[in-house]
């Protein structure tokens, strides 16, 4: 029983990281109606950027975020302008292919620069732990969770307390109407894509400390992130966060109760069951032609 409780606690802590990465993804979908299949590869790219700074300047991995997040934000804006903006018709289908191509390109380039050997970010809090009510919790999970709460909190503040957030939410609700009342939707889209990619950088650091990774790690990551946002309902931030927690808690409990190899599978089963009854996901809205 304590094992199960410990697994659940760990699930909530790691779920925060996935909530952050998935919220970037669902934000991009909400604003642009596109699925960024490259999000996983961008997370890995973020992890490798931190790894590069960590290797050459011996910076603390979490501190590298000060550099990598603005870098990745800029990269996201450029990617949106060059590859996403030209797609005028049938964005949903074409964007999947474009971002998949970007993922392959990033994987190939990372493989060329860093080889396909597994690497991991190192820090003192990676293995050091403290005890709460008899549970041993590693610092990195707590730091990662706090980081994610901080970034998600900032994201919600921007979305609900600034005029830019208002423009962004208006674009999510109705792109044409937002344009009519004077919202520069192209600019909003580019910035939203940048924010989504910047969350990938933050997620990448925590992922890189808690997991060994190589350029091919993005397949596993993106399949999880995509299933999270489908379970939560595409375009719903709240849904993405809750679905991420459900996923990681289920996985960690399954790993303890049944076996680690079945952890992800159980989550897929939950997704399938939910889809049978609610094809639009937990918090999705059923819109004609869009589910």
């Amino acid at each position: 029983m304590t094992l199960v409780l410990e697994a659940a606690a760990l699930g909530i802590l790691t779920g925060g990281v996935y909530a952050l990465m998935a919220s970037g993804l669902t934000l991009i979908f909400g604003v642009m109606r596109i699925i960024n299949v490259g999000q996983g590869a961008l997370v890995i790219l973020g992890a490798y950027l931190s790894f590069a700074f960590f290797r050459s300047w011996h910076l603390d991995p979490l501190l590298t975020l000060v550099i990598t997040m603005p870098l990745m934000f800029g990269l996201g804006v450029i990617l949106q302008i060059v590859f996403i903006r030209p797609l005028k018709t049938d964005r949903e289908a074409l964007s999947v292919l474009v971002t998949y191509a970007l993922a392959l390109g990033i994987e190939g380039a990372l493989g060329y620069v860093f080889t396909t050997n597994y690497v991991q970010l190192r820090a003192w809090y990676e293995t050091a732990s403290f005890a709460v009510f008899g549970f041993h919790i590693t610092y990195v999970y707590v730091f990662g969770f706090l980081l994610c709460i901080a970034i998600l909190g900032a994201l919600f503040l921007v979305l609900y307390r600034t005029s830019f957030g208002g423009a962004l939410r208006a674009t999510m609700l109705n792109r044409t109407a937002a344009q009519l009342i004077g919202v520069d939707v192209d600019r909003v889209s580019a910035i939203a894509f940048g924010i989504g990619v910047a969350t990938a950088a933050a997620g990448g650091v925590v992922f890189g400390i808690t997991n060994a990774f190589n350029p091919g790690s993005h397949y596993d990551l993106i399949s999880r992130l995509l299933t999270i946002i489908v379970l939560g309902g595409l375009g719903s931030l709240r849904g993405a966060i809750i679905a991420a927690l459900i996923m990681l808690v289920t996985e960690d409990i399954t790993a303890v109760v049944i076996s680690p190899v079945w952890a992800t599978f159980v989550f897929f089963v939950i997704l399938v069951v939910v889809l049978i009854f609610r094809p639009q996901g937990l918090f999705g809205v059923r819109v004609r032609d869009r589910i």
Partner: protein
């Protein structure tokens, strides 16, 4: 899905007799290829190219005609591969020509799987459908890795192979098997395109709700197209397994196989008959060559991604529709002058 970029142009561009002669010439060339160029390096490329002609054509029946983009068709490819592999191992089939007889059974197994997956996945549309198909593909990969007692898990599954076929002849039977499946796929695709069923699929692509309103049984049609497409892909997966003789979960339930067939159909022209063929013939030999030359450095992925991006940004409608449009415009100009 509003498919306003999708081709409405007819694929027949040339005139009747001329087309017939051209098709006959292509068929003879395809049939004679192993005799003209019998060295294994060439026939190996031919086997994979014809395999992708079949895969892209089969995918196009679902993705091109109904507009439902499945990125998880590798699930059926892998299921067919493991289906045939396990049958060969457990039924003690003597290697040789007998395993080819079991290929339709592998296709049937994939079709059954597609009924289950399609029943759930087709409740969703557009973006969600894309993701759900990816999720199912990874589910199958996980199953193949975890059910170690059945599949051998990550260690892979070895298939019996014929010791009688050697040298230049080794690839030939597989080449003809792949060719037969590709032709079957093309025939099915052509037949669907001309049928009322095919018309219903195109109506779903253009506006599913209106199609339902005018009496197209959209659910049944979508599922049928999905199952036909999956059955063809499963049979091709079966022949693939017998050809490579050793299969691993991550190499048959491979997202790259799933995306390759989509890219080829896109490059040639979605919803056209000849598009997937042209896409496969252009891309697969190039992909094999690049993987062979640059495989170790993973740079071939960068090349693949660059081609991919160029195709989508410059030719979002594919080669065949763009070429047909160009021809039509030129013809219109001659009429005017």
């Amino acid at each position: 899905m509003r498919g306003n970029f999708l081709p409405r142009v007819r694929w027949r561009v040339g005139r009747g007799p001329l087309k017939l002669v051209g098709l006959l010439g292509l068929a003879i060339a395809a049939l004679l290829l192993p005799f003209v160029a019998p060295d294994p390096a060439t026939t190996n490329i031919a086997v994979f190219t014809v395999m992708y002609i079949g895969l892209a054509t089969a995918w196009n029946i679902m993705g091109g005609y109904t507009g439902y983009i499945s990125l998880g068709h590798a699930a059926f490819f892998g299921f067919g591969a493991y289906g045939l592999g396990l049958m060969l191992v457990h039924l003690n089939i003597t290697p040789g020509y007998a395993p080819f007889v079991l290929v339709p059974v592998a296709g049937l197994l994939s079709a059954l799987l597609a009924v289950g997956i399609g029943w759930i996945a087709l409740r969703t549309r557009a973006a969600t459908f894309v993701i759900v198909t990816i999720a199912f593909m990874f589910m199958m990969q996980l199953l193949a890795e975890n059910l170690v007692k059945v599949t051998g898990g990550g260690g892979g599954l070895g298939l019996p192979y014929s010791h009688d076929w050697g040298g230049d002849f080794f690839n030939t039977p597989y080449y003809y098997a792949m060719l037969l499946l590709a032709v079957l796929g093309l025939f099915v695709s052509w037949w669907i395109r001309r049928s009322k069923f095919g018309l219903g699929l195109l109506a779903i692509r253009d506006d599913e709700d209106k199609a339902l309103a005018v009496g197209v049984p959209t659910r049944a049609f979508k599922l049928t197209a999905f199952v036909i497409s999956a059955a063809l892909v499963g049979m091709i997966g079966g022949v693939y397994a017998y050809y490579v003789t050793y299969i691993y979960p991550q190499f048959v339930f491979d997202p790259l196989i799933g995306i390759s067939m989509v890219l080829m159909a896109f490059l040639g022209g979605l919803g056209t008959l000849s598009g997937p063929v042209i896409g496969a013939v252009l891309l697969e030999p190039a992909q094999l060559e690049f993987a062979y030359r640059l495989g170790a450095s993973r740079l071939y992925l960068v090349f693949y991604s660059a081609v991919f991006l160029l195709v989508i940004l410059l030719l979002p409608r594919g080669i065949v529709p763009s070429a047909a449009e160009l021809l039509n415009r030129r013809r219109a100009r001659t009429v005017v002058s």
